[in-house]
Assembly symmetry: C2
Homo-oligomer: 330 residues x 2
């Protein structure tokens, strides 16, 4: 960690709130150094990802700090999950406006602490600076996979099945509701949806279990069709998704029955952080068993075909055209 | 890389300017993925560091973009050097204000490209977002050392020699001159000092060569005495630095002969990015040979003693008291 003391001094911030998050990881050197050492297991390789969140762009200034912390960590863990990596450690960059009070950092660190325990990761280091602008957070997460077994977006081929975990659309529906009715009304009307928007569940165990099973994978952050589009573009395949098979939560179904104009959000909205992946048809039974073992729905929503883009297909077999191709934050 | 398109679209920015920087590193997957895979050599461990730079805090909005890029990369390489690590790859977070033009990013990428070639690193991935605030850049660099051979700040013991590479104070003197007389006048009066402020030289080869020789090391970023203080605090030793032995460049000497009131800056100013390290007295000949081999001065400036803080000592043997303990950015 380097210079740039915010408020109570960077060293105090580190000593009090961040250093405890590195406990148990000798290579973090108690955050007393600008570097950390990480031993990657024999026969493994490191998998690295980075995500940045800016106040006013990716979260609202008044959002609870512990939830901001957990979301930041979880979106990175979701990226590691999409690669089939076991999370190991993370590095945190915090650019803090002078208006931020110590209590904010304490709550932020508390959120990280809770999720470190849930996901078996530990803080390795980082940098804390001041900024005249909005709070800006960047997190680099490092995991590992056996050599050559990281799952990428490049391995899909025509004739494979397309699966998605969990349910799709909850987070984007919550955001639409918050934007139209305010957060308090949204919490009353659809608490489950709001919870999914605020705190995604990275599919870490699923990702690890998909090594050797998924031919390509991505986490749904930009939106189901947009993210499938990424796989199509990188793998050089087309995809047909049966609109009616996309798994919805009971709460999303209920909500959509009253607000039919929002149904497109399911396919285009983002922030689900479910895993979207392709697999060989002969592995269907293995995936079914895996779904049962993890108590997590894995729904086959379509198949890959020759082509270069994903198509959403109605029950009558016609292409559903979507107005918005991808996800935009507020 | 994830969503949040700035100006011409994040994907275009990545495809055009950033993806070429990942060439030759298959694990970066052409920046088409949110994760990268990195194989750490057999018997090695990863060394990770992270530094963040905010416009208006760590650099000025009008600074040349290629120099901002190279400084950002180099301060991270300097951290890796202080650990004795061989640089491998880096991950870049860019939060871009909408006012930034494409030409800026092209020049920024050009700066990275130049230094990638100089230092043998390659871009592994990152995230590009928009921000309503100042340009904010965060870089995570990853290197490697043989298992257990990373140099930390913790290994100094009483009775060891204290060395510093190169010359000290150039960058801070340049900053003082820029602040008092403006950058054009500074460039005319002391071009060499300004160059050192704008573009530090990370001591990568020196760092690698110090494995097994340096008992503790740090790069001089906060200021000579402040950084020595970090080693003292973490190692639990005192230090005596002979003020007259701190190596100055001819240009710094000339400048200080006219501006004696600035002489303290040598000991307290930052941004030198030289390596400050401790070594056993019996390794003096090896260090002398290393200095010759690298054509880089390694100057013995003092010794470690029992105690817990560094002391600057005059030629008459008295403690020199310093008004400012550490480095503050503009």
């Amino acid at each position: 960690m380097t210079s740039q003391p915010p408020r109570s001094g960077e060293f105090e911030t580190i000593d009090r709130y961040l250093a405890p998050l590195s406990r148990g990881f000798a290579g973090a050197r108690g955050l007393t150094d600008d570097t950390a050492s990480l031993i990657i297991g024999d026969g493994n390789e490191a998998v690295i990802t980075l995500d940045t969140m800016v106040s006013g762009v990716h979260f609202l200034p008044g959002d609870p700090p512990d939830l901001i912390a957990r979301k930041l960590l979880r979106v990175n863990l979701s990226d590691l999950a999409s690669a089939g990596a076991t999370p190991r450690t993370y590095f945190l960059s915090m650019s803090l406006p002078s208006s931020l009070i110590d209590g904010w950092i304490a709550a932020f660190a508390g959120g990280l602490d809770a999720d470190q325990k849930s996901f078996g990761v530990v803080l390795g280091g980082g940098d804390t600076t001041s900024t005249p602008g909005p709070l800006t957070l960047s997190l680099t997460a490092i995991g590992e996979t056996p050599l050559g077994q990281a799952i990428s977006r490049a391995g899909a081929a025509p004739g494979q099945d397309i699966y998605v975990s969990g349910t799709i659309g909850d987070a984007a529906l919550a955001l639409a509701l918050i934007q139209s009715a305010g957060v308090e009304q949204a919490l009353r009307e659809a608490p489950g949806l709001v919870a999914r928007y605020r705190l995604p569940e990275p599919r870490v165990l699923l990702g690890i279990s998909l090594r050797g099973l998924a031919t390509a994978a991505i986490d749904v952050s930009d939106g189901l069709m947009a993210d499938l589009g990424h796989i199509c573009r990188i793998s050089g395949v087309g995809a047909e998704v049966a609109a009616a098979t996309v798994p919805l939560s009971p709460e999303a179904r209920h909500f959509l029955s009253k607000r039919k104009e929002l149904s497109e959000i399911v396919y285009c909205g983002g922030d689900d952080y479910e895993l979207l992946f392709t697999a060989r048809p002969e592995d269907a039974a293995k995936l079914s068993a895996l779904s049962e073992k993890l108590a997590l729905p894995l729904t086959r929503i379509g198949r890959t075909v020759a082509g270069d883009r994903p198509v959403l297909v109605s029950e009558s077999g016609e292409e559903v055209s979507l107005a918005s191709a991808g996800w935009r934050h507020f």
